[in-house]
């Protein structure tokens, strides 16, 4: 086992969504998790975090000092970028290149639409400054840095009341010296400003993408730093004594003090943890090909899990001008789980569009005021309001009865804004909203799979998020998916995923060399140094050094190519021959052929990873196997395609491995509800997953 054996053994995962903040508490080796779901506090998100943590601890009688780790994910970074709520940001570039950020790559992301919108730079032209000094392509200095110009640039940004400064100089990924000096001068002239250097944030070839990534980092850094700082202090104030850990966009987690310098790497923090949870649940259910469907209060996302791992990407885009159009957003060079937004969430507002058709989103009622049925002053109908009217949700048992829903308010909202203007009944309007939002998500998720050359119908769907299980069976039918796996705790899956995310850090070093000229001994030494470096960044996070595993790789290509492939490296057996063989294997697997040409190494990577917590025990369940259908707790009318059906309602906690339930049925958990239409059958597997099968498929 990985965890410090002498230390305390309680852990917490906290996920902040647009609507709800989820907290899960787990004691190492325990067979259950404590879960809390409470409304997000948008004005200061740390308030809900602290309250949720306190509540979970109080319920288990655990002292904050007994916590081994608090792991956190947040949509703060993504939202700040999408809503353009970052701080006033400046940029300093090499003389002559301040417009690179605006010019971009000069290509049209849609071949036929001449009216495409190009992303507006996060830093306007007037706040883009330049300074003399120049490196050449190999990183050597051609012209010394003009420090007076740097100071003048910083003065100008200071006068313009810029709070955060991005620095991106040509070839800085080869030699960061000039950028570091610029950073020192800016810090002197603008002592209060935050500084992001491109050689630090994204040390990769390609000035536009590197600048874009660095600017986005600078744009959100002050907001993020303030937030994390406040959270760290609040946790310390409670008596928590360890480092706060944060989840990155690729599902790994790092210490808050490291994360604070690179908030852009957290752009997809919460959702990535959801994918990590899906991976774990899939492992328990013995399923390696899944479509993870995560629907929360504000958005719905989809991610493919292929061969048991979430699909990953190194080319991420945020804040797309045209929904779903690749190339229309701000490019970010960060490792991330490949995930797309497929539509609206439970809080998304339904309205009538210009063509007289029902439209759902993109506006969301969020947590405050929230759906009309929350009774907090919103009178517009949302998806959740419609789900309530259709009988999918129950006014008394929402969030285990902790939050009563106002049916009359939901009805009024739907009548006034949808049913009456369209001249249809209340239920028809509610069903129309439900169908619209589900069909949109089904289509977008199918396209996501298809664009990756995969056939979604062969995947099992795993619904997570508070609203995921409500819409999942209907969506699966529309996507021609026959099998669903609904894990326990689906409604707080991202928070569970945070516990499942291993503490991990990647160190990369550029060292371009032809394979034939590789100094093997020097390479081995470098790989050892890199391993030591990762240990420094991981330890202190409740991980013992002995429990860290390392994975080394070389980024290689044929001489003349522009893209590398990752080639696994065994440090001890490293030789020119072993590397040549490993490259041929990796290249052949990707391209189906190899070339009779010289190869080269561009860079080396070492990933140090702490152990994954043995969460399987916690959520795998220990209940004995049984059979038959348990008696329902109650009955209520629930709307399916043909009308209201008196439907049995089961409590999830009553279901044991081997139980079967024929649709229609409602299965309620504290944080989410699985809606089982008449054409589905559900069984409970040994890990307590609900397996829903479409009847025609059985």
């Amino acid at each position: 086992m990985s965890i410090e054996t002498s230390g305390p053994a309680w852990r917490i995962g906290v996920d902040i969504g647009g609507t709800f903040t989820d907290v899960v508490l787990w004691r190492d080796g325990a067979s259950t998790l404590r879960r809390e779901k409470l409304l997000t506090t948008p004005e200061d998100p740390s308030l809900a975090v602290i309250e949720g943590v306190q509540r979970a601890l109080d319920n288990e009688g655990v002292a904050p000092a007994d916590l081994a780790s608090v792991i956190h994910g947040t949509t703060l970074v993504a939202n700040a970028l999408i809503e353009r709520r970052g701080v006033k940001t400046g940029l300093i570039t090499t003389s002559g290149f301040r417009d690179v950020l605006e010019i971009g790559r000069e290509w049209r992301y849609d071949l036929f639409d001449l009216n495409i919108e190009m992303p507006t730079p996060l830093v306007p032209r007037a706040l883009r400054q330049e300074a003399g000094g120049r490196l050449t392509a190999d990183g050597s200095e051609l012209t010394p840095l003009d420090e007076d110009e740097v100071a003048a640039a910083a003065e100008a940004l200071s006068v313009a009341e810029v709070q955060s400064v991005a620095v991106s100089l040509l070839h800085s990924y080869r030699n960061p010296a000039h950028e570091r000096r610029v950073g020192e001068i800016v810090a002197r002239v603008m002592p209060d400003a935050k500084i992001s250097l491109s050689s630090d944030v994204s040390p990769e070839l390609g000035e536009y993408e590197r600048t874009s990534t660095t600017v986005a980092n600078a744009y959100v850094l002050p907001i993020f730093a303030t937030y994390v700082d406040r959270l760290v202090r609040a946790l310390a104030g409670m008596g928590y004594r360890r480092d706060l850990l944060l989840v990155l966009s690729d599902g790994r987690c790092i210490r808050a003090d490291v994360a604070m310098r690179y908030p852009i790497r957290l752009v997809q923090s919460g959702p990535a943890a959801g994918a990590e949870a899906a991976r774990l649940f899939g492992e328990l259910a013995g399923e390696s090909e899944m479509l993870c469907f995560d629907m929360g209060g504000t958005t719905a996302k989809a991610c493919l899990i292929h061969d048991g791992e979430p699909e990953r990407t190194a080319h991420f885009e945020v804040a797309r001008e045209t929904r779903f159009a690749e190339g229309s957003g701000l490019p970010l060079q960060i490792p991330a789980i490949d995930m797309i937004e497929i539509g609206a969430g439970g809080g998304s507002i339904a309205s009538i569009d210009a063509r007289g058709l029902v439209q759902v989103g993109p506006k969301s009622a969020g947590a405050d005021p929230g759906p009309a049925c929350y009774g907090r002053g919103n009178d517009r109908p949302t998806v959740t309001d419609c789900d309530l009217i259709l009988g999918y949700l129950d006014a008394g048992s929402f969030l285990a009865g902790k939050m009563a829903l106002d049916v009359a308010a939901a009805e009024a909202a739907i009548r006034v804004h949808l049913a009456e203007p369209l001249g249809i009944s209340l239920v028809e309007a509610a069903w129309g909203v439900h169908e619209t939002v589900t069909a949109n998500m089904a289509q977008a998720a199918s396209i996501h799979a298809i664009e990756r050359g995969l056939d979604a119908t062969r995947f099992a769907m795993m619904p997570i998020g508070g609203a995921g299980p409500v819409h999942a069976c209907d969506m699966a039918t529309k996507m021609n998916i026959d099998r669903l796996i609904c894990p326990i705790g689906a409604g707080v899956a991202s928070a569970i995923g945070m516990l499942a995310a291993p503490v991990s850090f990647e160190v990369a070093r550029a060292a371009p060399v032809r394979l034939a000229e590789l100094d093997v001994a020097a390479a081995k030494t470098m790989l050892s140094e890199m391993s030591v470096e990762t240990v420094g960044l991981i330890s202190g996070a409740g991980v013992a050094e002995a429990d860290i595993s390392f994975r080394a790789s070389a980024m290689m290509r044929y001489v003349g190519q522009g893209y590398e492939i990752e080639v696994p490296v065994e440090k001890d057996g490293l030789s020119e021959g072993s590397l040549a063989d490993a490259f041929a294997v990796a290249y052949g697997a990707r391209y189906g052929r190899t070339e009779a040409m010289a190869s080269e190494i561009l860079s080396w990577r070492v990933v140090g990873t702490g152990p994954r917590l043995p969460l399987a025990d916690a959520i795998g369940g220990t209940a004995t196997k049984t059979s038959g259908t348990p008696p329902p707790n109650s009955q209520r009318p629930v709307y399916f395609e043909s009308g209201f059906v008196d439907t049995p309602v089961h409590a999830r906690r009553d279901l044991l491995p081997g139980h079967t339930i024929a649709g229609p049925a409602i299965i309620e958990e504290d944080e989410s509800t699985l809606v089982v239409p008449p054409d589905f059958d559900v069984s409970v597997d040994e890990a307590l997953n609900l397996i829903a099968l479409r009847k025609r498929a059985t």
């Binding site: 003389s95 002559g96 290149f97 301040r98 417009d99 690179v100 605006e102 010019i103 790559r105 000069e106 290509w107 049209r108 992301y109 849609d110 071949l111 036929f112 639409d113 001449l114 009216n115 190009m118 306007p124 032209r125 007037a126 120049r134 050449t136 392509a137 051609l142 040509l170 070839h171 990924y173 070839l205 390609g206 000035e207 536009y208 690749e326 199918s446 396209i447 298809i450 664009e451 990756r452 050359g453 056939d455 119908t457 062969r458 044929y558 003349g560 190519q561 522009g562 893209y563 990707r590 391209y591 189906g592 052929r593 070339e595 040409m597």
Partner: protein, 541 residues
Amino acid sequence: MNPIRIGLIWRRIDGIVDLVAETFLRAAFSVVVRDNYDMAFSLFDSRGQQITQSKRSIPSFIGTLPRTLAVVLDKIPRDQLNPGDTIITNDSWIGTGHLNDISMVHPIFMGDRIVAFAASTAHTVDIGGAPSPMALDRFEEGLCIPICKIVERGVENSVVIDFLRENLRQPDETLGDIRAQFAAYNDCTEKLMGLLADEGLEDLDAIADEIVMRSEASMRSAIAALPDGVYEDGFDTDGFEEPLHIQCAVTIKGDELIVDFAGTSPEVPWAVNVVLNYTQAYARYAVKCVLDPEAPNNAGSLRPIDVRAPEGCLLNARPPAPVWGRHLSGHYVPPAVLGALAPLIPDRIVAESGSPLWNVYFSGKRPGRDDSFVKMFFMNGGHGARSIGDGPGCLSFPSNVSNEPIEVFENQVPMLVTEKALVPDTGGAGKFRGGSAQRIGFRSLADSAISMAIKHERIRFPPRGLLGGMAGSPGRDLVNGEQIQPKSRTMLAPGDEIVFQTPGGGGLHPPGERSQDMIQADLESGLVTREKAIEAYGDVD
């Protein structure tokens, strides 16, 4: 077939083609393919009907590939094709109009039956010979590869490979790109077989017919919505000593549209002549963009559009006319078609962009190395103002060539890029302003002479504004501060300074209709100076 299923299968085919194009791009050996995206990948059904193309494609290539495939199949009929064959050609009159674009066709078999064709085109910076704007005929322009099998039953034809190797200055790069396409064909075959198996299909023909029929109906209804009549546009281009003339008449007749370039200058003894296949590709592309941009592009989109140009004119040149710089006339085809249609569709039109595409070729030796390099660098001008707002600064049109990162360029060539910046006061004024031009500077860091070849348009005639909008700014070419000939070859000494300024985009609608907010935003960004703002818009707050 159920329309939902058709839609899903079509989208999956589309997705496969994009992924396969990505395989090609990532395995490519040239910057012109992997960074400039000067390529296209397209899929055809068993009868040679175009189904779809990769998103990152050059518009002209997706328009010329259907004819390339047809000519290939005339020369090598289906019964002479075997699994594992790949056919190559770069014949200007069969392909894209110049030798630098190499096209290949790969039949995809299921058992012994052809179920589809994958086809791709990619630019190669060098194709041998001594191409120049002043070439007298096509023979000077490099190696012509006649239609032949470069791969036969999975085995490379060493004669073809040797011919290429002996005639090209950078054979590893060009052959590397060719082999990267072989990897893409394998990938395409594998993914397509997966799709056919999943869907229980024998081939793509039934799906293709459904999609093509829908695209054709969509294009026909878009044409039918316009009033019948003949609409014309004509303008001069820079040309050489004398300007050249492009004349275009668009006839709308029910649900059919005819583009006719009668009245265009005759072909000339300089390398700006265009083959008909290229002219047709860009004329149809322009129509598709403004009349029916949303429907999937395939064989059906093209059917209702007939494109004609008199044989022997600039836009329908005959062999052995020199055609190396064919885009210098060919990129005027979309503006001519749009200019003719402008009064009919003021809500969808786009003013002229800073194209024909600008590029520069550098060749020479790197310090300390014996082998020579040939390197190309692309620069887009300002995009024309659009009906929804200002033209973006520096966006590729009608081509879709990306720029190359400066950090990549400087890694390959002993040149320093001294500047890449938007230029104030270059976008044409209007209710919607044309996109800004860019200025790019270079300095030679070589220790020997570097040869620089340029072929630039829009020095004499800047991009026009439309419907009352003003023209953008003309382009400029400077060496050590002196204006040089825009179509020329110059020997650069070490330390020489070169500056190019691409043309600015044209404006749309009269400047008097521009909002004060937009004028103020221009002043704040500095993309328009106060002096020019007052000149163009009068009152400025």
